[in-house]
């Protein structure tokens, strides 16, 4: 299948290795990956901060960039949820009904990585090898908006060498919440502290999830504490094999400075 990769603005700009891992993984599974050059952002940050009017041209750019794609895959539950639940809504509210229809049609062909692997490609064993003790945090939008359920866990269980440990209080929000992390940074930090306490209680080397945004928050906290437990996106784990950990993937502790 020809898969269009939507890197998402955050991954593309800050953690490109996650998009790279997604591409490597999909190619290894025998699919052709294209990366439309015109892509930028799904518009979620604008919508969720109150800038829904300003989000309309961002949605239009997204729809333009991915026009004609057979299937779009993104390594983010949150962005895919926004594409499914918000893009058409903000376009329609602005009176852009044509754009809303196009966004809806594109959303129907857009998948979060674990959903695409399990539901569309029908694979749970992607042939990965990752010899680390790992705990999985189900991010809120994957869990409650997209309802990815245990798909990421099915994928992780099939990874050779990986020791999966259950995360206590897994379904509690990590406290990221987009601009919430800055506008309400004290509350966000209090939520993060409890999430980190649970992550550390598992003695996992790695905390994984399907969203780089939440991982940047959890990982940023763990790194600040010099904890040694690091955050690695699900795509990076699934892209790892015996021969090579995923390109650019950090197997060092997050802080070496």
């Amino acid at each position: 299948m020809r898969v269009a990769l939507f890197a998402t603005c955050l991954v593309d700009t800050v953690v490109p290795q996650v998009a790279r891992a997604t591409a490597v993984l999909l190619e290894r599974l025998g699919h052709e990956v294209v990366v439309p050059a015109g892509q930028a952002c799904c518009g979620q940050m604008h919508v969720n901060t109150g800038y829904r009017r300003e989000a309309v041209p961002i949605v239009a750019n997204h729809v333009r960039a991915f026009a004609g794609a057979e299937a779009v895959v993104a390594p983010s539950g949150s962005c895919v949820a926004s594409i499914h639940h918000q893009q058409a809504m903000v376009a329609r509210r602005a009176g852009e009904h044509g754009l809303a229809d196009e966004a809806e049609a594109l959303a129907a062909r857009t998948y979060e990585l674990s959903q695409f692997l399990v539901d569309v490609l029908g694979v749970t064993d992607v042939g990965a090898y990752y010899a680390h003790r790992v705990t999985y945090h189900p991010t809120c939008h994957s869990l409650r908006l997209l309802k990815v359920g245990d798909r990421p866990l099915q994928l992780l269980r099939a990874v050779r060498g990986l020791e999966l440990v259950e995360l206590p209080g897994a379904e509690s929000c990590c406290g990221f919440g987009g601009t919430f992390s800055v506008k309400n940074s004290d509350t966000s930090t209090a939520m993060l502290t409890d999430k980190m306490a649970n992550v550390l209680s598992t003695h996992a080397e790695v905390c994984t999830a399907g969203d780089s945004s939440c991982l940047m928050h959890i990982g940023g906290g763990l790194s600040r504490l010099r904890s040694g437990t690091r955050t690695v996106h699900l795509a990076e784990i699934l892209a790892s094999t015996e021969d090579a950990v995923s390109p650019d993937q950090t197997t060092r502790p997050a802080v070496t400075a």
Binding site: A7, V35, Y51, E54, S172, T187, M216, G219, S223, R224
Partner: protein, 509 residues
Amino acid sequence: MTTTPQDLRTDQTPLAPGAPRSGTTFLGLPTAPRGVGHLRGDRSFPDAARDALRDGQLRANLGHATQTIRGKRARVVAELPDWQQLRAAGSALKAATMARLDEHLEELERQVTARGGTVHWARDAAEANRIVTDLVRATGTDEVVKVKSMATQEIGLNEALEAAGIAAHETDLAELIVQLGDDKPSHILVPAIHKNRAEIREIFLRTMPRVDADLTDEPRRLAMAARSHLRERFLRARVAISGANFAVAETGTLAVVESEGNGRMCLTLPETLITVMGIEKLVPTWPDLEVFLQLLPRSSTGERMNPYTSMWAGVTPGDGPQDFHLVLVDNGRTAVLADEVGRQALHCIRCSACLNVCPVYERTGGHAYGSVYPGPIGAVLSPQLTGVEDNASLPYASSLCGACYDVCPVAIDIPSILVHLRAEHVEAQEKPTAESVAFKALARAMSSPRLWRLAQRAAGLGRLLARGRPTMPAALPFPASAWTRSRDLPTPPAESFTAQWAREHGGRS
């Protein structure tokens, strides 16, 4: 079920009788007035939350209480195989009721009147307080007993009565603790959730006349102390004031759902009963209660059924209060009803399940919200009742995790309303703010591939500040500092993924 979503007349915006209307153009419906009631805090949420987060005792009390009640709720909800259908029914019933609220309210008035009650319409908190104060004065008494009620907390009735020289005695145990402690409620079901047993014991010892000096913090002993304190007041009281969980329009029946039986005492012993109710609390028909009386106790206290459900219609000669008044309060509700996204907030049956699962509420507690309605529902209801600019920080007091929507027994999509209210706030600003300038510039970049690549390259330059380290320095200027104070920020790479890919694939996309 007799109601289907097709019945919803969403094309019409319903209005309470007397609400101002001009053709089809709204003249800005009145919101809850300032200076009366408890819908506004004096500090923004982040500010108040900062202090609450440092209160270790509060954090411990709340963490313990919310975890316990969450577990109980989850267990009893899991027992019902048709829970999702019940939720859908509750939601559809509420939507259908709101679409014809004006007609149902008038039917309620006719039925209550026909059964010997008197109905009063109050445009806002000030008017409702005046009506109730006059009614109490007319009886010649200077004290009343109160059933736990959010509506009277919202309008600040106790303060209004006190100003008129009338003492209002709260009789709900948790409400009593708050009243004696000269405190504010922090939860809609358990107003004293922020207090633990030892703190309650201390309040009782300090404030209850004739309390046993050997009182311990054993829950039974505390309940007994409250009981003997209250018993005296029940027997003395000539006037009771209550709220209502439901009102049935077709029969004029009012319903109060509770656990302690103290409400039942108030509703039956005094000669005069005054019920203060928000206009959104009614259901059209008697069978509608079937749905809500299943949804409410499981969601609120985690019980299959609540111990006391009191229902009455008008006056029954020789049985219970012989003088009954129903005060219907708008206080901004019609304005909420006029907002097609926000009006869902009026479906709330005040079960408090959304508070108990909210990760923000669990840590900050209810006082940080500044309004009597805290937690997720408060964050969408308070700003709508007061007008969003009077509670502008509340729609942002959420990480949008969606746990509230999942548990809400009437399926109110709270996250979507929060996002909607954030936009209402942004769109209400007449002058540009630093944030709006930044977001507009970012939107322009994100709408144009060429500008976006430039912006990404500029972001990549941030790595120079890191001087080769994997994370950025912790001391960055605002707003980055709000992140870096507690979290490291990864150093951005020299090249974005899309740029790398285009380079490797010869510019091919």
